[in-house]
């Protein structure tokens, strides 16, 4: 990971047409955008991400700011493209379902800590995606995209305070969900607490996820 000042310079270099600089920006930012998009559009995240990059490449010269600004700018573009897709499909945000990952967590070992050792990026993103949408977005933009509460609020059209609360609640929810399988009476607790936290319709999408 480069430090912030270097990346600021990389943004400027890319804006003046430096290909290697743009490649570095892509490699640095694409995973975050893709994972963020995963919670918005699920299996369509790759397609939406490529659309977003087309626009980023085209409009990069119109952007002004440092790398932090670039992160927020690209996240905004990605979100707009995701909303376009959702509008065109007339559906609500449909994140990757967490069921299957949670099932894997359970299957691997009955103890949660054993399962958590195996937690993959996809599983983690799916767990976050299972949160209520505003909490999921707040957590993803803050933790994965790396934005502060203010920038996140700008993207989501809310105040920084509301973002802080949403992110906090999201983490609290996440912790509670992780905690539950490890509690003593596993069988009953599990069947009750893991009863379908998200819609099952997205389950086929998981087959295609890498």
């Amino acid at each position: 990971m480069m430090d912030a000042e270097d990346l600021d310079a990389v943004v400027i270099a890319a804006q003046s047409g430096d290909e290697q600089a743009f490649r570095l920006l892509y490699r640095t930012q694409q995973p975050a955008l893709l994972r963020y998009l995963r919670i918005l559009v699920g299996e369509d995240a790759e397609d939406v991400a490529s659309e977003a990059w087309l626009q980023i490449a085209r409009d990069l010269r119109t952007f002004s700011g440092d790398f932090d600004g670039f992160r927020g700018w690209t996240a905004t573009i990605a979100r707009h493209r995701a909303m376009d897709l959702l509008r065109s499909q007339r559906r609500r945000p449909q994140p990757a379902a967490a069921d299957e990952f949670l099932a894997e967590l359970r299957a691997a070992d009955d103890t949660a800590d054993r399962a958590l050792e195996l937690v993959t990026t996809d599983a983690a993103v799916a767990l976050i995606a299972a949160l209520p949408p505003e909490q999921a977005e707040a957590v993803m933009l803050r933790v994965v995209v790396g934005l502060d509460a203010k920038s996140t609020g700008k993207i989501l059209g809310r105040r920084a305070g509301a973002i802080r609360t949403a992110a906090y609640r999201g983490l609290k929810n996440l912790a509670a969900r992780l905690a539950q399988p490890a509690q003593p009476p596993p069988e009953q607790r599990r069947s009750a607490s893991w009863s379908n936290p998200v819609t099952t319709s997205a389950a086929p999408a998981l087959k295609e996820m890498r």
């Binding site: 694409q30 995973p31 990059w53 490449a57 599983a123 906090y168 490890a182 890498r210």
Partner: protein
């Protein structure tokens, strides 16, 4: 097995640390770290496409900065339009007058103007009812019947100035290199027909009519202007 402190309920402080990316010893550490993990090859599969888009954008002519200049460009565009419109109007008026004066078409335009349109509209009025009930055919006939309406428009503009703003009228006439007295006469005569203008300067009108010997035309206008001439202020008094 799970250590008890790992499952402590989330408090705000821990949440803030987690959001900052700090390690807190909380179970969520691993989940969030996994969510932040470095890119996998699969995630970077679109790199070639992105690079192609970047090259294409680099080859395209450099666009001006969009964001800061949306309002600016709008304003600039509007201003440009206005300036262009004013320039066009001025040049059309002045240039038209100069041209008319040079070619001697001024009098022709001034005096023959009412006729074509009148005949055209009367023709249209006669023809159009059987053809179609719409309004557009007569309008088209009226405008396309001859070129004189164009000249008439510029004359009208000038004469409007004459009626409303004498200062500007003088200026325009002077710029056009036109004789002001003659232009005033023209305007007065013209003013008689369409809108029965005031044209308070009666004396200058008389010699003009005599000199041009508008035998065919002046009789038509005489009865209309009779009241206006004596009143001096035209319509409001009538």
């Amino acid at each position: 097995m799970t250590s008890p402190e790992e499952w402590t309920p989330m408090d705000r402080k821990t949440a803030d640390s987690l959001l900052r990316g700090d390690r807190t010893g909380h179970a969520l550490d691993r989940v969030l770290a996994a969510a932040q993990a470095p890119a996998t090859a699969a995630e970077l599969a679109g790199e070639a496409d992105a690079m192609a888009a970047f090259r294409a954008a680099a080859q395209a002519p450099a666009k001006h900065r969009k964001r800061p200049s949306v309002i600016q460009s709008c304003l600039t565009r509007m201003l440009t339009l206005k300036v262009a419109a004013v320039a066009f109007a001025t040049s059309a008026t002045v240039g038209g007058m100069a041209l008319a004066a040079n070619t001697g078409a001024l009098h022709e335009a001034t005096f023959s103007a009412p006729e074509p349109s009148a005949t055209a509209t009367s023709e249209a009025a006669q023809v159009s009812p059987p053809v179609s009930p719409t309004v557009s055919p007569p309008a088209q006939v009226g405008t396309t019947s001859s070129a004189t309406p164009k000249k008439r428009v510029t004359d009208t503009d000038l004469c409007t100035d004459f009626q409303r703003n004498h200062e500007r009228f003088r200026e325009q006439v002077r710029r056009a290199g036109k004789n002001q007295v003659e232009m005033e006469r023209t305007c007065r005569t013209r003013a008689g027909a369409p809108n029965t203008s005031p044209s308070a300067r009666q004396p200058s009108r008389e010699p003009f009519r005599d000199r041009n010997g508008g035998g065919t035309r002046t009789p038509e206008r005489e009865p209309q202007q009779g009241g206006g001439n004596t009143g001096g202020a035209g319509q409001p008094h009538r």
